[in-house]
Symmetry: C2
Subunit: 354 residues, 2 copies
């Protein structure tokens, strides 16, 4: 980097002081309109671009928020990012996005980096339940607001925005039961995350409520990605008999399950064979279409930023007893049980095709 144009350069050229330039550029009330015009013109002509870092150093505020997500190729998160960026931009904030790649250590490093950038706030979707809270304590200590979204910890000193997974899962599974099924398997995703445990808890609660015994060989945990769904389903097939319906912890798992289902040539019912948590756009891509609990990523992201901004505006130093928001989107509120094209179709069983 060569030396860039600074306010000093403009000041010199105009024969005024740098302070005047600074004030003029920030539309300070006590600079004459004429002066402002001149300064702006000179700045534009010289190709002056403010040094954000220097400014932040002085302002003690970066107008930047940091985001940590586990996986950018997960369309749920890329949609959520969209909501976050939109809302943040609208409030004059910039967003620095980092990706933990489902790795707790990388997540730690990312948060550290963002803290070193002195972001004004943090938005985090966890890769797994933290077993080491020091980096989060650090954020707390530095009084940098942090809001967990989607993948939130069971309990913490931070605000969270997430789906009420337990309740929603129970609802979805009860929907399946009320459709006449009692042989329901579960591809459970990662149990090292509350989101996974809660979805399983909802599943179990639904079974229990309807007196359906739990079958451990029908419950497979793993990751939240496609391959976990694929492998999970194949493992499920090793049970002595097969469930009729699969409840997948998310849409990508469902996608993997579909793939396996096709390969082993099971009839794919165009309806309730697999049900899952998911977001509607992704579910639309799948064949056959999924029955899902629709978790809207954009809305979730927006809500998270909203809460973050309120915490930024109202520093913890002011609120002795920090008021945490445990926001959960609930079924019937922002969440819907969405049925695919098959909505009217007769519900079919997962059965062998051969």
């Amino acid at each position: 980097m060569a030396r860039h144009i600074t306010q000093k350069d403009i000041a010199k050229k105009l024969g005024v002081s740098r302070v005047t330039v600074s004030k003029a550029l920030s539309e300070d009330a006590d600079i004459s309109t004429e002066m402002k015009r001149k300064v702006r013109a000179a700045a534009a002509e010289a190709g002056y671009i403010i040094h954000h870092g220097a400014r932040s150093l002085q302002m003690r505020r970066t107008n930047t928020i940091g985001v940590v997500i586990p996986d950018i190729s997960n369309s749920f998160f890329s949609r959520a990012i969209r909501g976050i960026i939109d809302k943040a931009t609208a409030r004059g904030y910039h967003v620095i996005l980092t990706v933990s790649d489902e790795n707790a250590e990388t997540e730690r490093e990312n948060i550290h980096t963002l803290l070193s950038y002195r972001v004004d706030g943090l938005l985090v979707a966890l890769s797994k339940d933290p077993d080491d809270w020091t980096i989060f304590d650090q954020a707390r200590k530095m009084d940098v607001p942090l809001v967990f979204f989607d993948r939130v910890p069971d309990s913490s000193e931070f605000s969270t925005v997430a789906v009420d997974n337990r309740k929603a899962a129970q609802k979805l599974v009860e929907f399946v039961i009320s459709s006449g099924y009692d042989k329901i398997g579960h591809l459970a995703g990662s149990q090292t995350l509350a989101i996974g445990r809660n979805r399983m808890a909802g599943y179990l609660a639904a079974l229990k409520k309807h007196g359906i015994p739990r079958r451990n060989d029908w419950i497979i945990s793993g990751g939240f990605d496609r391959s976990s769904g694929y492998e999970g389903f194949l493992r499920l097939l090793q049970a002595r008999d097969r469930p009729d319906v699969i409840f997948a912890a998310n849409d990508r798992i469902a996608q993997g399950a579909y793939k396996a289902i096709k390969e082993v040539k099971l009839a794919i019912p165009d309806g309730i064979g697999v049900v899952a948590f998911g977001h509607s756009e992704f579910a639309e891509l799948l064949q056959p279409k999924l029955t899902i609990i629709d978790c809207p990523p954009v809305a979730l992201g927006q809500q998270a930023v909203e809460i973050l901004f309120s915490e930024i505006a109202n520093p913890a130093t002011k609120r002795r007893h920090r008021s945490l928001l445990k926001t959960t989107l609930e079924v019937g509120e922002s969440l819907l049980v969405r049925k695919g094209q098959f909505a009217e179709a007769e519900v079919m069983r997962l059965s062998s095709n051969e």
Copy 2:
């Protein structure tokens, strides 16, 4: 933000000067091992995190690169980002990601923002061909290296990394022709981007080469998204007769076309009905599977960073005659014509089902 721990604080606590702390923390050669240990311990204990902004101000280098993409929910770009982040992280750089939302003005603002952050380099995928080059000239003037990737301008003073779209398109269309078709339509995407024009040029070249007359009513331009493909196909149907094969400018357009094809109840050949540019992972999701030119997003992103780093390491001030790299991935190199499941299947015609 309350006042954070600074090097000064650590210095005071240890009864040494701030310089000693700074040097110790950066592993400077002329600090005793013992002192370094003490400083590090004190820093860790106090929860010291370096102020990246202050450091950069002095260092005149941020160790950060800025990226501008048109759309984060486009899986091509989210995969490319992955490649970028991986390579950048490996070299100790951070990445600030911004999204232009396919909007030239937002793109301009994003670049401006990144310039104000004093990023060490820029990676840009265009939303459209720039009609105003001032922001790019600005980057040039500030001597901030900039590399265009994927969506590159026809010609500029900047390095580019992209697929050789013209050649690849011609190759793909010739593949279709050699399979016995001569009624080939084109959903062309945006013609305000070189990438769109070049793909069309390749299409036209292939037709011409084989003496197939061009049918303007079989060429529909629009955007690069799903809905453009959907609407484009419906418009195509209004031609007096239908083409047998559609060449879509990218995979998302193809996806939209499939949707329309299904809706109007045309037989969907599990093969060559639609061919497109795309990346293999996305194409795998589609039903029926696409025949594509496989553009690998991760590799493309990595290559772009690589070039950017070489320009960062070798500032323009040193090279009077800037050596631009116009890197193009070519078919047969990193690119393959990938056929879906139908590879062995008989090629079928797009015909009415009713």
